[in-house]
């Protein structure tokens, strides 16, 4: 369970990225995080992986208080919370296989086990045939899948996807959303930040709306029929 309580984040420049934000997300939920650019979506994600700490308020994941989390536990946290970054952050001088292998290498997983795991995830996201290609050789949708594959490396409880359909055409966007739904169906909590009203409206999932750092709506909707 993710719990934000009266979270405010001010940057040293004086900008307030989030103001008094409170919400809770149950395990296994699929939540859209909606709002214009600069509304604080990315800040919210960065708080969730402890890339920064809130100025005031508390952020909890399960029974971990991220504000008080020791530095040593940050790597553990980032295994529990997978992130698909808005700019993907794939390493250009490594193949797709090596990119997905990377977090497992970092975690010092045994080599053969790690390679098996990568094959498994690449098949899951449907880009096994691109395994040996470099990021420049892939299309936008394929790159997005590669980034999702890397975020899934540790089978995280929570997957944060920052604008995963941002640069994709409509058909490809839907493929990515389907993939995220499949991952959600397997039990992973998903928070997806997006601008895409079309997708948000058709999926009838819970929507959190941020505007200038303030949580203005929290709609819990059930899919019709």
């Amino acid at each position: 369970m993710i719990k934000f309580e009266n979270v405010t984040k001010k940057y040293p420049t004086g900008n307030t990225a989030l103001e008094d934000v409170s919400f809770a997300i149950e395990p296994g939920e699929f939540v859209f995080l909606v709002g214009p650019s600069g509304s604080g979506k990315t800040t919210l994600f960065r708080l969730l992986i402890r890339d920064m700490v809130p100025s005031t308020g508390s952020v909890m994941i399960g029974d971990w208080d991220l504000v008080k989390l020791s530095r040593k536990k940050i790597p553990h946290l980032r295994k529990r919370v997978g992130v698909v970054f808005q700019d993907l952050k794939l390493l250009r001088d490594r193949t797709i296989f090596e990119n997905v292998l990377f977090p497992l290498e970092v975690a010092d997983m045994e080599d053969n086990a790690a390679r098996r795991r990568v094959d498994e995830i690449l098949a899951q996201v449907g880009i096994s045939e691109h395994s040996d290609k470099f990021p420049v050789q892939l299309s936008g949708g394929e790159l997005q899948r590669a980034a999702i594959a890397r975020a899934l490396a540790f089978s995280p409880e929570i997957l944060l996807a920052d604008e995963p359909t941002g640069n994709l055409d409509n058909a490809t966007s839907w493929e990515i959303v389907k993939l995220l739904q499949d991952i959600n169906a397997a039990g992973t909590t998903i928070i997806m930040a997006t601008h895409n009203a079309d997708i948000v409206n058709s999926l009838m999932k819970r929507v959190l709306v941020l505007e200038k750092g303030v949580l203005t709506r929290d709609d819990k909707r059930e899919k019709k029929g």
């Binding site: 790597p75 946290l77 970054f85 390493l91 990377f102 970092v106 975690a107």
Partner: protein
């Protein structure tokens, strides 16, 4: 192992920087080796002379056997003399021939006439040497007194000067090599800023990021050291015959392999420390 592979990739992809780093380390450790040879060698020479408390007095050519005998008995009477050895002109020529047997030109030039007879005196007490040498200097049949104490104090003065110069030189070189390695490694760290940021977001620990760079620093240090030591040792080996002639019987050379390997061991240790310091400083800026 994985870190070592990453370091090797870093090194291979920028060979010129690697060569610069290795060369400065080589230079540093070449100097350290040469300096170590000089310091150890000169202390051995000094202790050799110190272990032989003796004065050598050279007789004038006109000194007769009677003069020599008188001097010997007067020295005996002081009761301070431990040993006394008279070297006649003939014996002096023999010694000279023995020392220069490989150089016929030098042998041809010298006859027993131009070599002085001498007497080597050692005392039971080191302090008594002063008095004996004074007595000898006043003796009319003696032309020159060579007193080891003078040799030792001159040598000590030289060694101290060499030590100061050497330490300054090595400290400077060590500092320069740290800076150059910092620049080389720092450059690579800067190139990999994005990758490091991604690594951190993917839960890499600071040490995971740091290791390949630290190994790289150690690599430069170790390779530079081995070559610096090799060049210095080879140079010493090559110079050994000349130096032996120059040192004339002072048992310093040939250098023992044990000494050379101990030196290598110490140098490797220093190199590893230098490598770690330089690379850690280089990465420091990017890992808070």
């Amino acid at each position: 192992m994985r870190h070592a592979k990453t370091s090797w990739k870093h090194i291979r992809r920028s060979p010129y920087q690697a060569i610069a780093a290795i060369f400065i380390m080589l230079l540093t450790f070449l100097s350290i080796s040469v300096f170590a040879f000089i310091v150890v060698g000169s202390s051995m020479i000094i202790s050799y002379f110190e272990s032989k408390p003796q004065v050598t007095a050279f007789f004038k050519d006109e000194a007769t056997q009677v003069d020599v005998d008188t001097l010997r008995s007067s020295l005996d009477q002081t009761g301070k003399v431990a040993t006394m050895k008279y070297v006649s002109k003939e014996e002096a020529l023999e010694i000279y021939k023995e020392q220069n047997k490989e150089d016929p030109l030098l042998l041809d030039l010298v006859t027993e006439d131009i070599l002085p007879a001498s007497i080597e005196i050692s005392t039971t007490q080191l302090d008594d040497l002063d008095e004996i040498s004074e007595t000898l200097k006043q003796n009319p049949s003696i032309s020159e007194v060579v007193y080891q104490k003078d040799i030792v104090s001159t040598l000590t003065a030289w060694t101290n000067a060499i030590r100061i110069i050497g330490v300054t030189l090595i400290a400077t070189l060590a500092l320069v090599s740290i800076f150059i390695m910092m620049t080389v490694i720092g450059f690579k760290v800067a190139q990999k800023k994005d990758e490091i940021e991604i690594m951190k977001l993917l839960s890499a620990t600071n040490w995971y990021i740091r290791w390949p760079f630290v190994i790289e620093g150690i690599f430069y240090g170790v390779v530079g050291t081995v070559f610096g030591w090799l060049f210095a040792s080879a140079g010493l080996l090559y110079a050994t015959p000349y130096l032996e002639t120059f040192l004339q019987g002072v048992p310093v050379l040939p250098a023992s392999p044990l000494f050379l390997f101990i030196l290598l061991g110490i140098e490797l240790l220093i190199a590893v420390v230098l490598g770690i310091i330089a690379s850690s400083l280089a990465v420091l800026r990017y890992l808070k």
